[in-house]
Amino acid sequence: MLEYLIKRIFIFIPTLFVISLITFSLSVMVPGDPVEQILNKGGQGDFANLSSLVAEKAYTEKRKELGLDLPVFYISLSNSAVPKDLYKIPKKNNQALLKEFIKKYSNWPEVKEYFDQSQSYFRALYAYNADSITVETVIQLKDAAFGIISESDDKIVQQRFKETENLLALFPNEFLALNQKFIATKVAYSNMQTNTSRWKSLIPTVHFYGTQNQYHQWATKFLKGDFGTSYKDNRPVSDSLLEASGKTIIISLISIFLTYLIAVPLGVFSAYRKGTTSEQVTTTILFMLYSLPSFWIATLLINFLGGGDYLGWFPSYGLGDQEVEAATGFWEKLSIRIHHLVLPLICWTYGSLAFMARQMRGGMINVLNQDYIRTARAKGLEEKTVVWKHAFRNSLLPIITLFASVFPLMLSGSIVIEMIFNIPGMGRLAVEAIIARNWPILYAVVMVSAVLTLVGYLIADILYAVVDPRITYGDSKK
């Protein structure tokens, strides 16, 4: 048994590793630049009025602070045309543009040369002091230049080149220096197009970056318990997580307890009384419960029982923290909590309850048809003993399997309910993090859920052995 457990725990490690990899790579692939997101505070600020130099400096510093100036992973798998240090280029959209060019022309030095030249022309243009005669032309030049530095489509780039050429020709003397930079850009572009080495893109290459990479930094910190700080409010992620998970776990545990408490006897009852009217009614009700979506039930409960226009039996939201603080005695506090928990717990529980009861019923019916049950009855044992002692234990197996899946479900299933009842738990935290692209929080939530899922399976495995003596782990009893 112990040996098996150790083996299982060892399997956890690669599983967790793969999960972390998937989450991590998702964050890299999702559109949007986290650095800009933070600096821009959700798009409310605007840097058009700031000199681009200040904005660029702020960008570089923030990028470094977040560790986003490092390569993503230990290795990168690509073709030999892609350079090893592409990650050093700031701004996600610039990297994407360069990748496009590499894909097309497979000649990094020329691509880089064009990129540098076009950037240098762009900067010179933005620094250019236009007078009243050239001002309109400069505005149009800037538009064309923006098209040049952000496009990889040859047709559009050529068109922008043409526009620029015509515009620069309007004031050849004033734009002398600009024109030189522009010509250098154009030359670099045609060099890039002619000196292609497409064969390079056919040769796969692996680049190694060592431990100085984003994933390693994050993973080592994560293992040390440092989950980073939230993008939203700069709080340590572990604080937010602790606050949120406490609430979710307590509610989940109560809910799991209630589920088993009600579902098991209900299942046994409906299996034992199979075919009777009362059993049919119970089964129908369970079936209906199972098919009702919890967000709908939650909304109905709040609207009808939560003190809106109908009955005010229960509070409409939250866990009553303020009231609990104001209350004095233990019983008063407890009753306030229970009062607040009734509606969320109903929503949390009824779905899994119905499901579990159905499973229990199925398992029990199976067992009740077994020969040894008939034997037990033939021996003249009391019906109670037959059901609870002989049949019950053997019918528990499917329920235990389910335990493993109930555990993580509780966490994810809570998302909707937490949003509706305004309980600041893990589900709400996750949803807010997803909407706000708050990666540090999201990583942590995913990892914690993953660990819980694995633990759930482990517990289920142990329970199997406890319930069914026929199941042993390892080969000690050969």
Binding site: D46, D143, R235, G306, W313
Partner: protein
Amino acid sequence: MFSARVLIYICLIFLLGACNSNKSPQKVYKDQVIIHSLSDPQGLVSLTSNDAQASQINANIFQSLLNYSHDELILVPVLAVGLPEIVHEGNGMKLTYEIKPEAQWTDGSPVLASDILFSFKVVFTPGVNSMHAQPGIDFVDDIVLYEDNPRKITFLCNQVYMLADHNTGTMQVIPEYLFDPEGLIKKYSYKELKSGGSLSQNEDIKKFVTFMNSEESSRSPKYIQGSGPYVLQSWVTDQRVILEKKNDWWGHAFEKENQFFQAYPKRLVYETINDFNTALTALKDEKLDVILVTPVKEYMDLDDSPKFTENYVKSEPPMLSYTYIGLNMRDQILKDKQVREALAVLVDVDEINRTLLYGQQTRIVADIHPIFKDDYNNDIPLRKFDMQRATALLEAAGWKDSDGDGIRDKILNGRKTPLTLTYNYNSGNPIRENVGLMLQNWWKQAGIKLDVVPLDWTLYLEQLRSNKVQISYNSWVTSPKPNDPKQLWHSTSRNGGSNYTGFGTAETDKLIESILVELDPKKRSVLYKQWQQVLNDEVPAIFLYTQNFRNAIHKRFDNVVPTAKYPGYWEAGFKIKEGYKVEE
């Protein structure tokens, strides 16, 4: 049976819990205002966090030299004795303020000019998360303090700017003694910090930046206290922020001067509820006192609820905002003014307002709010839906249905191009989606095919910034400041900025610039009218409407002054009406 007994017990416990609610004949209210908020603020120091939620809360904690009066929306003195003395010098200007001698921080120490200088320095300290505040005060070149008068401060600006007094006056001031007790940035001048340079590597600066960007400085009650009437009492993440009134606040002596010195409720509670349905149920249950209801239908439906009408009143002051459909002028189809004009007369704004927004909105001709009567151009008529004119315009622009497929086409750059356009909106926004579908329907009748495509918010923003969206739906919330068209309509704001329509020529840039340097409101009004005419003539956007706030406020409050400033009321000024019982 065991399980049956347990079941009964559980039911009993639940029932006991259910009986917990007690209703007394005359309700006794707590001396507090509970205000709904959709999400937590990022932090409570305006210099490092600028979300709407934060600005509502911290307006009760920190003050500024000046602020906009709630009714007239003009600048009135708060920390300052009066409006600044403005002197023109060469190409620039000098603004001198004097602080009220009575003004105090929480610990009783006076608010001094050095605190104001400190706050301005924080904005430019390299590394501090305050970039959002930089553009507004970038024109301030240097700041002068006076040895003989520690309450006097002068801002030196190298340019004339119409918002100089607005932007220097309305920036919130934070206490130096709390935020920089060690004097980490004291030895650096405003100018040094503003020029940045290699200061970010300096150990003292690094230490200060770490502190200013930390959780502690932006949310701990130890630091969230200023010269305003309230201090932060507690903040439970994602649940509530509670502010408590100071015992003897210095500002009470100025109660008669203006609303910013009125502070009556003992506590202000900002309750975070993400789900509107839940929040509205809580409202009917009197768990909330004030709510801003964004979904229009839910707001209209409230009138049907007896519990609501019994306890609440609606308040709908105009909101400083405007909404428009942006047309990308850099697009090869939309760069033709005739096409844009045709699209503009193919939008029945009144119909949108009626069907989607319950007729709640006020139409506008351009980016100026009608509340600013002197600036708003009444001579421009509102466009009417006109299919005939649209058809004529499109024909004149060369768009004809040559192949009879119902969609107009034209030879562009040597290729036959159908008149197909794309409307993007951020996914999950039903109003924007429905507007798109309505456009699609109208435009189809005129031979224009419109694709309505939702984009994820980040992607939508990115596409807008790089001028890749053909047709977009935009809403802007503005402030009582004179309208600064630069951010949205100046040519320097496109190619990465917020000028999503790509509007702007040297001429229009010049007009914007002349508005920005005009200090005389009367002359500025003339320019504003010209500006609206330009926007109307060039049609870079189809201006739709401006919204009203949709607030619900508990009936027990008196002295509720509706205002066009966000969020439409000043909670600290709420008094209790006679006939309502309040806990002592």
